[in-house]
Amino acid sequence: MMNRGRSLLLAVSVFSLLIAAIAGGADSQSTEEKQQAAPGAGNPNYPARNPFYFEGKIDYELLGIDEPSDAWEYMQRGIHRQDDLEDDQGAVADYRRSVELNDPGNGTCQIVESVGEGFATLDPPPCMFTVRLRLGYLLLHDDPEESIRLFEEVLEIDPLRLEVSLLIAEAYVVEAEEATDDISKKAAYQNALGALDDELALTPTVDDENLSPDRANNSHVHWLRAEIYEKSEMYPQAIEALQSYLAASRWHSDVLPWRIPLAEKKIAKLQQAVGAAEAVRAPVRARTRASRN
């Protein structure tokens, strides 16, 4: 199909050159119009930006382009490289180029905050979130700080976008696990927990039994909370998070279903640990009270 597309493109190019050579610029307006023609014009598989870019994945060959020429096309090729070719390095390079060409810092894109005059043809165009999410995800383990920066840019673009804060939390967890001192580790975990709270705030459960049986949701958020609390030896909080995980899984199960019985086992184990700690602390408290008296 690519070959057919290229052949067609070649034929069209040759024909255009021939016509242009003979016509000799007889109609400068039409030449100008041609130059201003939108990329992909006439291709039903090349969605026009008006005003937003198409924030999805298109089967790359349907775009009919040989080399990307703008931020959106670089993003599409990056997606193709990442998903179809498993070429993560190539994808990172394309995503980086895409972000360079769609950067509020250099004026090549804007964070849309209002719908005013000229909205249909926003100039500069809106900043894209997909490329930042994908680049951030690929950098998550190698450069969590950069990931967090990219994910935070996504929240600048769309503060209500779901699971971005969860990704930020995952990046902080990577930072915590790579931290070489306790203070940095604790700070990273705290940041992760803060991000998870932000995520939960975006999708509260509906407290209406006529509408939904759910009394918790975001099971993956609660699972990660529990892991962080457990690693931070905050066992009562870990138990609460695991209970929330179980409540969220009640009507939705889990892609890793073994985590459901594991959560129950963990709760029992953590309760024992809390009980043991309480048992140790109780005599100490009694002695403290006695000494005060």
Binding site: N50, L162, S212
Partner: protein, 715 residues
């Protein structure tokens, strides 16, 4: 000398080339529709008129959803009603005698079917749904005496959601053929009622009265979408034969117009309705009508089936069969019962049913159909089952009450004279099984506890369009995938369903069925709206927004597309999107009880075509393009296994299967509520309810299957 000759020759060739190209360019310049010819008019006939000579075609068509069922379908009727609730009745047709006006004061007296060209969005909205589902009925409505669907008394702020009738209420007549209505709005038909002409929807006389594509009404002047064909009810019926036999008594004449014959045999003919472009003024991904004067008629692509075909491998010879494969070659042929072919796709050997195999038979009854008793020859004939992926979601008794006592059941026993199952549900299942193949060949060969196993599922669609197609934003094909150890311990699941309560439609306890459950990538309940004292168009009180929306544990669609995560549900359902603009409410509340309001543009999946302002039509599977989906399956660590008291036994078993879900249950539940007492009409229109969902939403599982074992390593 030779050089000069060569130059002159080059110039001559160039001039010739330009002249040829210019001629070709002129030939391609749109020049409008051809002149209409005139022939003795004949009002649209019921299919029963054709039955005496075309019994086989009649019987086939009777068990197609295209004819009959579609017009009384609870889903179609409730969807059309829901669209009217939100638009203020604008989807109902106006006619030539209407006194209504557009916003600019110009008369609005043409509809989707009757407009010669479109200058206003309101013309496309008017009769939008029914102009493809029942185009001849809308055209006939120009004659007030033959009008089956009336113009609404009030639209916009004058619209009365409690007084509008479902379209199917109008498709009833008494024994004299006079229209009769259900006593109650949306109620059961009276026992003496019979089906009207409109009840049968697309029957013989619609297609065989087709003249040509209608470029002036086609949004991109390509003859596709929104009913952009010319119909002329006349004695001249067109079929596929260039040398048809003379018809007994000139009951009709058979057209010998080669262009007309070529049109009805082409995919473009089907594409006149099987691309659907939804009009909208505030779309965030709009396309513009290319017709002169139609620049303001912007739209987005809902059904994109014919464009998918046109830009795919089956519209050319660049496919395994070495020739274009048209719609008719799969949906009007013996397919998938006409033998099999084996071919290569992306290095894989595929065996699948052969398209384009037609039964040999008489096109009409051999005795008594022809003038002068001309002896008919057996020829390759098209069937009229039009099998697709839909089956009725109504009981046979309910359909017979509206469509006649002889309406066939969807599970009719036996095969026809060509050996094709009479059962629509069986044909649908067999068609789905011909549509897609999967394998797990690229999956990791080994795995270790505590690490990730990379499962790679490769899927390829064998369809002429993407898979699924048609109303692809609701039709749901997905991959169910499990990883188990050799003892059956479940390590991973995706594309799974969980039995749960649905209190919003009265299922207070899980009912033991999974067919009425949604996939777990998102938890969604769509707002049905509510009755208000004073009606206002729009979504504020008429529903369509997500009143519950959370991403679920199997979130693959969002994670895969936007984040690139190799995890979660592989869902080939296209996505209707609402891009909320700054200041717009999302329709649900936060923990503080305040409505979520977008401060910046916010993209969210919606389940309403009337509410979407953008669409992603690339979630579905492209034809003949093997696509690999990765699943990074995290296996439990040794410590976790110890705590669980489980010892994994090698090998691991990976199982993948493609399932097809008729419609998302959450979409059905929205329709049940918005056309029920909770909705803007404040009354039950008796279209969809939990019982119907439970009884008739039957999914087709395992249309393609793959298995693979993975060695589990100790260390």
């Amino acid at each position: 000398m030779s050089g000069n000759a060569s130059s002159i020759g080059s110039v001559a060739i160039a001039v010739l080339f330009i002249a040829t190209a210019a001629t070709a360019a002129l030939a391609q310049t749109p020049t409008g529709n051809p002149e209409r010819f005139t022939i003795k008019p004949q009002p649209y006939q019921r299919a029963e008129k054709c039955l005496p000579c075309h019994r086989r075609q009649y019987d086939e068509l009777r068990s197609a959803v295209k004819a009959g069922y579609r017009s009384v379908s609870p889903l179609f009727n409730s969807l059309e009603l829901a669209g009217n609730f939100v638009s203020g009745g604008l989807l109902r047709p106006v006619y030539g005698d209407s006194t209504r006006t557009n916003a600019d004061g110009t008369p609005l007296n043409t509809n989707t079917a009757s407009s010669q060209t479109f200058t206003h969005l309101s013309q496309v909205r008017s009769g939008f749904c029914i102009s493809c589902h029942n185009p001849h009925l809308v055209l006939m409505g120009e004659d007030p005496n033959r009008r089956e669907i009336p113009e609404l008394a009030g639209v916009g702020t004058e619209f009365r959601p409690d007084e509008i009738r479902p379209l199917r209420d109008y498709h009833l007549v008494d024994v004299q053929g006079r229209q009769m209505l259900t006593p109650e709005i949306g109620g059961d038909p009276p026992p003496e009622a019979q089906p009207s002409l409109g009840a049968a929807a697309i029957t013989c006389d619609v297609c065989h009265n087709a003249i040509s594509q209608d470029l002036d009404r086609s949004p991109q002047r390509d003859g596709l979408a929104n009913g952009s064909l010319e119909l002329m009810p006349s004695l001249s019926k067109v079929g596929p034969f260039r040398f048809p036999a003379p018809v007994k008594g000139n009951f009709h004449v058979s057209s010998r117009d080669p262009e007309r014959i070529a049109y009805i045999q082409s995919s473009n003919f089907c594409g006149s309705c099987h691309d659907v472009r939804v009009p909208g003024a505030s779309l965030t991904h709009a396309e513009t009508n290319l017709n002169p004067g139609s620049e303001d008629v912007t739209f987005y692509r809902l059904e994109n089936l014919n464009t998918e075909w046109l830009t795919g491998p089956y519209a050319s010879a660049d496919n395994p069969f070495g020739k274009p494969i048209r719609c008719q070659d799969c949906h009007m042929s013996m397919f998938p019962y006409g033998g099999e072919s084996t071919y290569e796709v992306g290095g894989k050997t595929i065996t699948s049913p052969t398209p384009g195999v037609f039964a040999t038979n008489f096109a009409a009854e051999p005795e008594g159909s022809t003038e002068y008793d001309y002896q008919l020859q057996k020829r390759p004939v098209a069937n009229h089952y039009f099998t697709g992926v839909d089956v009725p979601i109504q009981s046979t008794e309910q359909m017979r009450a509206r469509l006649g006592d002889d309406y066939p059941p969807v599970d009719e026993a036996g095969v026809d004279e060509h050996g094709v199952p009479k059962s629509l549900s069986q044909r649908r299942e067999d068609l789905l099984k011909a549509a897609v193949r999967i394998d797990l060949d690229k999956t990791d060969a080994t795995a270790r506890p505590g690490e990730s196993l990379m499962v790679r599922a490769t899927a390829v669609a064998l369809t002429g369009h993407r898979f699924p197609s048609g109303f692809s934003q609701e039709r749901t094909a997905y991959l169910e995938l499990t990883v188990k150890d050799d003892d059956g311990f479940l390590l991973y699941q995706s594309g799974y369903l969980v039995d749960k309560p649905h209190p919003e439609t009265g299922e207070v306890e899980p009912d033991g069925s999974l067919d009425d459950e949604d996939l777990e990538h998102a938890q969604v309940i769509v707002d049905p709206g509510r009755k208000t004292d004073v009606y206002e168009p729009g979504t504020a009180t008429n529903g369509h927004r997500n009143e519950v929306f959370a991403l679920g544990p199997d979130n693959g669609p969002e994670a895969r597309v936007f984040v690139g995560e190799p995890n979660g549900l592989v869902l080939w359902r296209n996505e209707l999107t609402r891009i909320y603009l700054p200041g717009e409410s999302l329709g649900r509340r936060g923990p503080d009880g305040e409505e979520f309001t977008a401060s910046k543009p916010h993209f969210e999946e919606t389940f309403s075509a009337a509410f979407a302002n953008s669409v992603d039509n690339y979630r579905s599977l492209a034809p003949l393009r093997p696509t690999t989906y990765r699943y990074a399956v995290k296996l439990p660590s040794r410590e976790e296994l110890e705590l669980l008291g489980v010892e994994l036994k090698t090998p691991l078993h990976v199982h993948a299967q493609v399932n097809f879900l008729h419609f998302p249950p959450l979409f059905m539940r929205f329709l049940a509520r918005t056309t029920g007492e909770q909705g803007p009409g404040g009354k039950d229109f008796h279209l969809v309810d939990e019982k119907l969902i439970d009884d008739f939403l039957v999914n087709v599982k395992a249309v393609a299957v793959a298995d693979r074992t993975v060695e589990l390593l100790d260390e």
